[in-house]
Symmetry: C2
């Protein structure tokens, strides 16, 4: 462990419904990627996850939230256009609001911890 | 997915120093257990982790924070008394303060998400 290593906070918030993750960082990023790419397959590729896993995540989202969060254009074939439903947009926005609130609340307490790492940490170069 | 499943938030905050976790839920629980049991071995047993893993976690804590967070009584043998140092208490208290701030900040946004699960979720019984 050498001096000058970067210290940082990693935060993860997950909403469980029973044993299923209804929304968390991975599913939120997937919804973002579907919105950006207009395609479930392209969204999975962007995130580096298999098409099978991507479909499973979308299925879990759809089941947890009671109706589709992603819809595919009528007549669309594989690779065809997909987009978030209103429900998908609402769920994603509410999750990002949670992340923003957590990030803001963390600032003071994390500064205290990082200050202790700075003060106490290994290999001070002074 | 049947009706009436419990929904809940799971939050995880970790402070990284380089690639090492300087403090997170597991290490905080370990420090709590050392404080409660007065023994590194007993703390590991309480948490259901091996003695080897327990020692590794303590070693990482000690290296990240620059000096011991746990001290073992002079002359103590295996099973002998261990306790948190002042630094260990400070790190643990700062981490619990972070968790408390996050929990409080989460309340409103999580209520919104749980409300959407309640409203939209599967298998409404009405």
């Amino acid at each position: 462990m050498t001096g000058g290593k970067a210290s940082r906070l990693k935060l993860k918030a997950q909403i469980y419904l029973g044993e299923h993750i209804a929304i968390g960082p991975g599913k939120a990023d997937l919804l973002d990627a579907v919105r950006d790419t207009g395609s479930i397959a392209a969204a999975g590729r962007r995130l580096g996850i298999s098409y099978r896993r991507t479909r499973d995540m979308i299925d879990t989202l759809n089941r947890c939230w009671g109706s589709p969060v992603v819809e595919t254009a009528r007549g669309g074939s594989s690779g065809g256009g997909s987009r978030l439903t209103q429900r998908g947009n609402e769920v994603l926005a509410a999750y990002r609001a949670l992340e923003a609130a957590l990030g803001q609340a963390a600032e003071g307490p994390v500064a205290a911890l990082l200050g202790m790492l700075e003060e106490f940490g290994p290999d001070r170069q002074d």
